[in-house]
Symmetry: C2
Subunit: 415 residues, 2 copies
C-alpha cells in the first residue's frame, strides 16, 4: 500500500456550539447515505422538484424559482450577486459585519458601482436609513445580510422589500446564518432574492446553498441568459443583458437546469441534495413556529446563563440573532485557553471572532439540532467550570440555573 495512508474517518463526538457548522441531525446523515441516481432519471428530477417545494416552505415563499446552488453558502451569495448585478450597475450594500464586507468584496470583483451604508459592527440599519440611502444613491440593487454571525445581530427586514420596490430597486438578502432558526419571511419582507446554507440552523452539513428568486428578479436574470455552445439548440436566442461573468454561477442556466427544460449545466450534487431535502423535511415536520420558538428559548437560555455567571453579552438584545450569542471575554481571561479547555475537557466547541471583535468576544451558537435544552445547559455548565479554573470569579452554578429557568420561561410564553 502506498504511503502516506490514513485510517477510517473517525471524528470525535464533539458538541459544536460555535457559529457553525454544527452537529448534523442524524436523519440528514442517514438520508445522505443513499446511493446515486442518473441526473436525468425521473426519480432524480422528482427529488429535485420535491426539494423546490420543500424550500418554498422553508423560505416562506411562493417563488417558483427556489432551488439549490452546489457549493457552500458563499457559493449561493456569489451566484446571487453575479447574476443580479451587472458590471457598472450601482449596488447599495449594508455593511455592519464581516459578511456585509463580503458582499462589497464580491461586488468589487463584478465591477459594480458600489455605495455602502456603513455601520459599526453590532449595529443594524433602520428602514428609514435604508430608504434614505436608496433615495440618495439610486441603486439598481440593494443587498444586505439578515444574520451576520460575525456580530451576532439580525438586520430587521420588515418593510424593506416594499421600500425597494417603491424605488424600483431589486433586493438581495443573505440568510445563511438564520434560515431554519429565525423567520426568513421572503414573501412577507417582499425581497427578491434570498440565499441560505445548511450548516447553521438547518441542521445539515456545509456544501449546499438554498436560494429563492422572485419572478421579477428571475426575469432580470433571464435577460442575461447566454446558453453555452456545447448544449445550445440551433434556434436558441440569447438575452440582451450583459452576460453573467460566471458560468458556474449563471443563475439563468441553473434555472434552466432546474426547470422542465432540464438543460444540462453542472451535475447536481446528489448527496447534498438528499441532505438538503432531509433538512427541510425535519424542519417542516417540527413546524416553523415550534422551531423558531426553540431557537428563541436557546438564545434566552444562553444569554441568561452568561449574565448569571457575571459575563457581559455583546450587542443589543432587541436585534440579537436567536441562534448565536456574542459574549465579551472578561478582563484577564485568555480567550483561546478557555476555548481549548472547553474542547479538550468537555468536547464542546465555542467560537472565536473576526475583525474588530477578534480576541474580544466568544461566539456561542445553539442552532439547528444543537438548539436543545440539554446542550445549552451542558455548555453553560462547562463554561462555569472552565472559567473558574482560569481564576475568573464565576458565581458557580448560577449560570446553569438561570439558563434552565430562561429556557422554560420562553417556551411557556410561546405555548
Amino acid at each position: 500500500m502506498p504511503e502516506p495512508f490514513f485510517g477510517q474517518i473517525d471524528p470525535p463526538q464533539r458538541l459544536l456550539m460555535g457559529p457553525g457548522p454544527v452537529n448534523v441531525h442524524p436523519r440528514v446523515l442517514r438520508a445522505m447515505s443513499a446511493d446515486m441516481l442518473g441526473q436525468f432519471d425521473p426519480e432524480m428530477t422528482e427529488y429535485m422538484n420535491q426539494t423546490m417545494a420543500l424550500y418554498r416552505q422553508v423560505f416562506m415563499t411562493a417563488n417558483r424559482w427556489t432551488f439549490l446552488i452546489d457549493g457552500t453558502a458563499r457559493a449561493g451569495i456569489e451566484a446571487a450577486m453575479v447574476s443580479l448585478v451587472e458590471p457598472g450597475a450601482r449596488i447599495l450594500i449594508v455593511r455592519a459585519g464581516r459578511f456585509g464586507l463580503l458582499l462589497s468584496e464580491i461586488a468589487e470583483r463584478i465591477g459594480a458601482d458600489i455605495r455602502t451604508l456603513d455601520l459599526e459592527w453590532g449595529e443594524v440599519a433602520t428602514p428609514e436609513a435604508i430608504e434614505a440611502a436608496i433615495v440618495a444613491h439610486r441603486p439598481a440593487v440593494f443587498a444586505c445580510i439578515h444574520g451576520d454571525t460575525s456580530t451576532t445581530m439580525a438586520q430587521p427586514l420588515e418593510g424593506v422589500g416594499e421600500i425597494c420596490r417603491k424605488h424600483g430597486v431589486l433586493s438581495y438578502v443573505d440568510a445563511t446564518a438564520t434560515l431554519g432558526g429565525m423567520a426568513v419571511d421572503v414573501d412577507g419582507w417582499g425581497v427578491d432574492v434570498v440565499t441560505g446554507g445548511l450548516q447553521k440552523c438547518m441542521g445539515g452539513p456545509p456544501g449546499s446553498s438554498p436560494i429563492t428568486i422572485s419572478d421579477r428578479a428571475a426575469e432580470h436574470i433571464f435577460r442575461r441568459r447566454h446558453v453555452e455552445s456545447g448544449i445550445r439548440a440551433a434556434d436558441a436566442t440569447d438575452g440582451i443583458g450583459a452576460r453573467i461573468g460566471s458560468n458556474y454561477f449563471d443563475l439563468a442556466m441553473v434555472m434552466d437546469y432546474w426547470s422542465e427544460k432540464r438543460l444540462n449545466h453542472h451535475t447536481e450534487a446528489t448527496t447534498m441534495l438528499y441532505g438538503a431535502r432531509e433538512c427541510a423535511r425535519v424542519m417542516l415536520e417540527e413546524g416553523l413556529g415550534t422551531r423558531f420558538a426553540r431557537h428563541r428559548a436557546a438564545s434566552a437560555a444562553v444569554t441568561a446563563g452568561l449574565r448569571a455567571m457575571g459575563l457581559n453579552v455583546f450587542g443589543q438584545d432587541a436585534f440579537r440573532m436567536t441562534n448565536v450569542t456574542g459574549v465579551w471575554i472578561p478582563e484577564g481571561v485568555n480567550g483561546d485557553a478557555v476555548r481549548a479547555r472547553m474542547r479538550e475537557d468537555f468536547e464542546i466547541e465555542i467560537g472565536t471572532a473576526f475583525g474588530p471583535l477578534a480576541g474580544r468576544i466568544w461566539r456561542i451558537g445553539a442552532m439547528g439540532y444543537n438548539a436543545m435544552k440539554h446542550k445549552v445547559l451542558h455548555t453553560i455548565g462547562a463554561l462555569d467550570t472552565v472559567l473558574a479554573g482560569q481564576g475568573y470569579a464565576v458565581r458557580r452554578g448560577e449560570g446553569v440555573d438561570a439558563a434552565l429557568a430562561a429556557w422554560n420561561a420562553t417556551l411557556r410564553d410561546a405555548a
Copy 2:
C-alpha cells in the same frame, strides 16, 4: 404537517452505466455519514492535510497545492480558469467535444483573448499540432480536456507539459472523467493545473472537485492575491496581478485556507471532504495499476460485447477512454426506447449524447465501483434482450460471451 410533504429518500437500486454519476462505493457513503467537526478544529485541519496527501498520490504528483474545490467538477474547472487566466490574456484551447467548448465558454466570460485548436468531435490533437498552435498563437495559457465524455475520447498528454514549458506557457487539463480510472500523470505530463471530480472513476458522488497546482502556477496565482477585507490583517499586501474575478473561486484565497495560515474563506464542505478522502483511500488501497487495468478490462469487455452483437463502436480504439464507450444507435432503432427499456426492465441506465452526437450514439460507462465484470456482463446481456425486443437482429448471447472473454484476456495480459 404542512403540505406538500414527501417521504423518506428511497432511490431505486439502479445500476448506473452511463457517463456518470455512477454508483458510489458503499465505503464512501459510510464515511460521509460521520458527523461534523468545527472547521478549524485540529482533527478537521488534519483531515484536510490527509486529503491533500492522498490526492497527491491520486494525481501522481508531488505538488504541494493539491486540495478540493467545494462544488461539482465544473466548479473546479471554473476555479482553475478564472485564477489562471487574466482578462485580456491569451489562451489556447483544444476543442474536440462539449467540455472543450465549456473551457472557451468560461474563457469568454473571463474576457480572455481566445484561440482554439478545433477538431471534429471524436478526434484528438497530436503533440505536433499542439506545439504548432502554441507557436502560432503564443498564448499565456494552454487548456484542454483529458477525457471528454461527450466524445468518449482521451487526449494523449505525454510531452504536452514539456512543450508548454519550452514556450513559457502555463497549462491546464481537466481530468474529471478519467481521474481514478486512467493514469492522470500530472508530474509525468508536466502540466501545471489539473482538476477532477468524484462522480466518475473515483466512485464518489458529485459535489467536490479535486485540484492540483504546480508551484509555478501557484506563484502566478498568488501574484493575483487580494485578501478580502473582513479577514485581512492590518499589514496585508495584495498581489500586483489583475484581481481574480471571483471570490469563491479565488484560488489564492482557497490556498491560504488550505495552508498552515488557515485564513478563513468558505466553510469547507465537511461531508464531501469525508467522501473525497474515502474515495482516495479506496483507490490507493486497490493500487493505481490494478485500478487502471480493471478499467481497461471493462472497456475491452464493453467494446467486444457491443461488436459481437453487431453494433458499431464510435471513435478510434487507440484514443478511447477506458471508462466510457460510445456506440452508434443502429438504423431503425429508437435510442430513447432502448434506454427506457434498459431502465424500466433491468434497472440499468445507459447514457444519451450531446451536440452533434445527440440521438446518434449511446454512451455506456463502466467506471469506479461499476467497472466490474459482473456489471458489464449484466449490461451487455440486458442490451441483448432489449435490442432483440426492438426488432434489431442481434446475435443472441454472443455479446456476453465476447465481453467475458475480453475481460478475462485483458486482465490476463495485465498480470
